[in-house]
Symmetry: C2
Subunit: 347 residues, 2 copies
Amino acid sequence: MNKKRYTSRLDIKNGTVDMTHGSGGRAMAQLIEELFISNLDNELLRQGNDQAAFDVEKGRMVMSVDGHVISPLFFPGGDIGSLSVHGTVNDVAMSGAKPLYLSAGFILEEGFPLADLKRIVESMAAAANLAGVPVVTGDTKVVEKGKGDGVFITTTGIGVVPEGVNISGDLARPGDKIIVSGSMGDHGVAIMSKRENLTFETTIESDSQALHDLIAEMVQAVPTIHCLRDPTRGGLASTLNEMAQQSNVGMKLREEDIPIKPEVHAACELLGLDPLYVANEGKLIAICSADDADKLLAVMRAHPKGEDASIIGDVIEDEHNFIQMETSFGGSRIVDWLAGEQLPRIC
Amino acid sequence: MNKKRYTSRLDIKNGTVDMTHGSGGRAMAQLIEELFISNLDNELLRQGNDQAAFDVEKGRMVMSVDGHVISPLFFPGGDIGSLSVHGTVNDVAMSGAKPLYLSAGFILEEGFPLADLKRIVESMAAAANLAGVPVVTGDTKVVEKGKGDGVFITTTGIGVVPEGVNISGDLARPGDKIIVSGSMGDHGVAIMSKRENLTFETTIESDSQALHDLIAEMVQAVPTIHCLRDPTRGGLASTLNEMAQQSNVGMKLREEDIPIKPEVHAACELLGLDPLYVANEGKLIAICSADDADKLLAVMRAHPKGEDASIIGDVIEDEHNFIQMETSFGGSRIVDWLAGEQLPRIC
């Protein structure tokens, strides 16, 4: 294969993306070979066709897509490369599925430093390796300077659902318990702090991580989990509203049981944000019957990615699909959908 | 489901995309419901989860991704919506697979007219319906004005390969015949003419179309086809070079057998383009053994999408993997990779 058909190697240290890298010609082939394939390396990607081929068993499969336009590209706890793996692995896993493979479409802006692109692809490769979910097929496009913003990455994932598992946002029932896997708001606050150049005593890091290993244990222990969803854009509040509407139920939360780190609370006050609306990239919401809740909570807490899991409330009957919350001060409020725009380009 | 939770319907006629449409909140939910789901409507998309779930049979599956950043968004013979369906359906089908499902990730620029977005989504829906390959899961992100360019669409497709079919770019063998399904260069010339505001006596239209139905008949007639690939970016020349290198062979073409429309030829002369390097979006290259070539050609010509199919040359032994071409004037030249950038943002 390696014919040394390029006169010289890609200048990753000083080079930048130019329009020829999206042309379909020799420059694009070199970029793909020396930067993408060499880092994301796996057997399927190396097939070198416009598609990856693999064997599947008969069963239920899921497919999910997530575009990533986060700004800044690098942030405490991650970057757009690792995020684009975690985001889609999680969307696949929220069906209870074992994620199998990812595709990745890159849209690059002319002038973007190849060194930064390399960092991003390396981070993507590390995240994919750690998750055991390889990027098996990819595509690269280049747009003129001023027509993009560095790098956008759209990933699609597929996975297989274990037999007997049926998890969906429309399956919440009155009486069910609502559990979150850990503290809310870390990702969004990490991004906003970076954007606003805020420094705190301790750096707030994004919680960006793949949750499929946690989910696999949850599903094995309680195959009858009703709903799973990750509270990304719009945060816990918007995601619960989505599910309440989908299931045609209401919910009642207890504010004091919603885990939020003190430094995230403090940063939110400073930034004028409500942590319930702030994006997470490594947390999940589970809804299950009251009978299963303690068992599920125990399994989650026994896993490093769920050690701060908490039962935050109950599903109730409500034709208006309202999310109510008992506040820490003993009051009560409605937690509505995010109405405007709290955090642009948070993922 | 329909709770009329929006105070008013989306103003598609006069409205534009704003940052709230990517926020994860109510405005995004409304955009997705009233513009995306209502047009792309299908049972899987209506599951309303962050992933689509479906049953698959045991077998060989393929996955392929294609980002679309074409400019202009609307062009003679198509638009970015239909193109984003055709491009990925074709990439999946070039393995001999029957395409099953698509995912679509939209990256929208703030200020983009909703009326244009609606046209694009309608066109996407029409293309998906015609192809019988639904968009089953999607994602929408919004970037600030000046950080994108209207609309980018990244689609991923999956499909199943019929048993016994094994098509790959590394399977060309000396003695094989090279066939193209029709005229070369139509898509790229249609785009460039539009960009340059050129008018000809007849409008040159993009050949953008889904080829999986043609391929299904080809594979059924000749299950032993060695290679299939669509000559998109970089055109026929770059795609043949890719395959020659992958298979470690050379190729010998006859210029006079390569179908090119007279008006495409004329436009290329005017624009200073070489039609062999101009992108196609509805044509394929097939490579098969000499024994199968006449049968395959006949099947292709009997199909409306292959009626101008032509055997354009032979695979030969060549350790340098050169593509040689006998010119119409009896000379000979090397058809190299596209070296620079001929047509930016052609797909």
